[in-house]
């Protein structure tokens, strides 16, 4: 009864319900925000309302015209694309592992900042131009350039970790949104095949003994360093960043995907190089530009979920792998990106599928976090969520939609 007196000035005795599940909600909230933004962007900028001409589709589609080829050919092309993607990611991950082994961490960190600047400037700039065009906002190009320049540079500083953590978290979510939005431009079959391939790759790379991500994690733990990577850290926003003057907690890994998704930038790079071989001269121009944008994506890496272990707390390194007193859960940015790609692609079909996939991904994320609490080592965050998301997408699209539309249009609901 003590909790019933909400009108009294003395606070009710705290029940466990007040704080239980707080860390999970602190991860679920930014993931949901990222997905929501991507869904809104795809809805607002959909091709029917004068959206972008999907450069990625031109590069990647590789002569598979959806109306002229049979579904077997489409499936084959999609699988081939995703295979190229995964091979490239693996190669680049091993390159990253090599660089990390040779202790080029300063180079990696600065490259991370540089590439996130490029992502924010180029991809962000492209997106903002599309938005300005869509909403007929009167803005001259000089002001736009100044604003964009500031936006990108502050993003670099945020990624290097010299700002309050709220700003860093916001910028990481923004980078995720930008990359995911451009990824939804991929043709449909390729997107689904790519998601499946990435989930399988993630599973292999983190759990197999020869997996590059696992080797990277073990190397980092043995050296007691942090992997330089774009990682979202779910610390509370009000915490002061005592870790800033010391070895920055957010070093960026430039091509490594720790457990979650691989370097999507390098993927674009690969696409660029592959496409230039097969296409002609003007394709080269397009792909060169895309290649540069691809470089920036190099920073969009992810790290597997890590939970700080409380027993090895040290003051000088409060954010290393397996260390730290903050108990914060870390989720790699590639996870954000691929979750949002899945939901964005589902939203391009219908909102019902988008919502079903959202629930499935959150359920998968919850299960992964539970497993993390049980096993206490780096785990891949992609497979469970992507598997649930894909299953729910196809079930909803095939079964649920007919049912719900049938009921609703007859105004018979339960």
């Amino acid at each position: 009864m003590a909790t019933a007196n909400s009108g009294s000035p003395s606070p009710p005795p705290p029940s466990i319900l007040d704080t239980l599940g707080e860390e999970i909600v602190r991860i679920v909230a930014p993931v949901s925000a990222c997905m929501l933004l991507v869904v809104l962007l795809t809805a607002v900028l959909s091709p029917s309302s004068g959206g972008p001409s999907s450069i990625l589709t031109d590069i990647v589609s590789d002569s598979t015209d959806s109306s002229s080829s049979s579904w077997v050919e489409q499936l084959g092309a999609a699988l081939l694309n995703s295979l190229r993607f995964v091979v490239l990611i693996t190669a680049l991950t091993f390159l990253l592992l090599l660089l990390f082994y040779l202790r080029c961490t300063a180079f990696l960190r600065y490259y991370m900042a540089f590439s996130s600047t490029l992502v924010l400037a180029l991809m962000g700039g492209g997106l903002f131009v599309l938005l300005l065009h869509r909403f007929d906002v009167p803005l001259d190009c000089f002001t736009f350039l100044v604003l964009l320049f500031n936006f990108a540079i502050v993003g670099a500083v945020a990624v290097l970790g010299a700002v309050p953590i709220a700003v860093t978290q916001g910028y990481l979510v923004l980078i995720g949104v930008l990359v995911a939005y451009w990824f939804t431009m991929l043709p449909e079959w390729t997107t689904w095949a790519l998601l499946m391939a990435m989930a399988l790759y993630d599973l292999a790379a983190v759990l197999l003994p020869v997996g590059p991500l696992r080797l990277l994690v073990e190397l980092a733990i043995s050296r007691d360093e942090e992997i330089p990577a774009l990682v979202y850290e779910a610390r509370p926003v009000v915490e002061h960043h005592e870790g800033a003057p010391t070895a920055p907690p957010r070093r960026r890994l430039w091509r490594e995907v720790r457990g979650s998704s691989p370097n999507s930038a390098s993927n674009l790079n690969a696409y660029a190089s592959v496409a230039t071989e097969s296409q002609g001269e003007e394709a080269r121009l397009v792909t060169v530009e895309e290649g540069r944008a691809g470089e920036t994506l190099a920073s969009a890496l992810s790290v597997p979920l890590l939970e700080q272990q409380l027993q090895r707390a040290r003051e000088d390194d409060d954010d290393g792998i397996g260390l730290g007193t903050s108990g914060a859960i870390k989720l790699g940015l590639g996870d954000f990106i691929f979750y949002s790609v899945l939901v964005g692609r589902a939203a391009m079909y219908d909102f019902m599928t988008a919502y079903a996939c959202y629930l499935a991904i959150i359920a998968g994320l919850g299960i992964t976090l539970l497993l993390l609490a049980v096993y206490r080592k780096a785990l891949p965050a992609l497979p469970v969520s992507i598997a649930f998301g894909l299953v729910f997408y196809f079930l909803t699209r095939l079964l649920l939609e007919v049912f719900v539309v049938q009921c609703s249009l007859n105004l018979v609901m339960f």
């Binding site: 319900l17 079964l399 719900v404 049938q406």
Partner: protein, 307 residues
């Protein structure tokens, strides 16, 4: 019709749910997770239903009885899901109480349990609103609107928004009633939730007749109001679970608290209101402290200092 109309329809369907979310649920992370998981349960039950009915759809639109069977099976599956949800919740409650013991915090209070039930019901209601109303709302953001043949008085989107509003209220509060019924073994409460669900679903069948939506919607509103009324007036059960308090206070104090707040023929709502107003008045010094409020204040101090 425009973005404004689309947003308006969405808010008609989800306005109270949003208010409940911000006021009660957003403060406690565990309740947010409860809402998400109960939404997922509802979605799974809906997918099962649609899988079972796949071969029979689309139904002929002239006959009534296929819809009746559809509704019966749907409501049946969802009520079964509610019982499953309750079983899971019971196991979770034991886990939570064990966890609370480890953290040396009190066991779950009654209001905590009610909040969890509220969050579960809200998850069901929000899932209904999203899948039956919001997912079909995309054309409403464009320049046109849509009328169903059988209901020419209101746009289709508005009808579905009102139905979703009714069902949000019904699902949310019948879950509270149902959980209380399962916890205390009151048959009336246990039967209430499936009964109201079935009645409400049958009421939407009135919409199948021409012009029926003008009758069906107000009736659905009456059903929602009845659910709210029933939940507010739920009879206070004789053994108020002050067992957790008895670690810190004597049983006479606990009994006194129970008695002091009890009116004749007391209900949950009335008792809470009386207790709240008495306590707040006495804390503000506007009302001489009665023995019961002194006892309660003493208990609160004991509880707070007992940490």
């Amino acid at each position: 019709m425009t973005v404004a109309a689309g947003v308006g329809y969405a808010l008609v369907a989800l306005g109270p749910a949003l208010a409940l979310f911000v006021a009660v649920i957003a403060k406690k992370p565990f309740l947010i997770l409860t809402v998400l998981s109960s939404t997922l349960f509802w979605l799974v039950s809906l997918i099962l239903l649609s899988g079972a009915w796949k071969s029979f759809l689309p139904l002929r639109s002239t006959a009534i009885w296929p819809y009746a069977i559809l509704l019966l099976t749907s409501v049946g599956v969802q009520e079964g899901m509610r019982i499953l949800f309750w079983r899971l919740y019971k196991r979770l409650e034991d886990l939570l109480n064990a966890f609370a013991d480890k953290m040396s915090k009190p066991h779950l209070f009654l209001t905590d349990k009610m909040q969890i039930a509220l969050a579960g019901g809200l998850g069901h209601g929000v899932a209904h609103a999203v899948f039956f109303c919001l997912s079909l709302l995309t054309p409403a953001f464009g320049p046109a609107t849509f009328y169903v043949d059988r209901c020419t008085q209101m746009p289709f989107f508005l009808v579905s928004a009102f139905v979703a509003l009714g069902f949000v209220l019904i699902h949310t509060f019948s879950m509270v009633v149902a959980f209380n019924g399962y916890a205390e073994g009151h048959k009336a409460d246990q039967i209430f939730a499936p009964a109201v669900h079935l009645v409400a679903a049958m009421l939407t069948m009135i919409n199948l007749t021409h012009g029926g939506c003008m009758i069906g919607l107000p009736l659905l509103g009456i059903a929602a109001a009845f659910t709210l009324q029933y939940c507010w007036r739920m009879k206070e059960f004789p053994d108020l679970p002050v067992g957790h308090l008895s670690d810190h206070v004597s049983t006479e104090d606990a009994f006194l608290i129970h008695q002091s707040s009890k009116l004749s023929g007391a209900t949950v709502g009335a008792n809470l209101m009386k207790l709240v107003t008495e306590l707040s008045a006495s804390f503000r010094g506007k009302q001489p402290a009665t023995p019961s409020t002194n006892k309660i204040k003493g208990m609160l101090d004991k509880l707070i200092n007992a940490k």
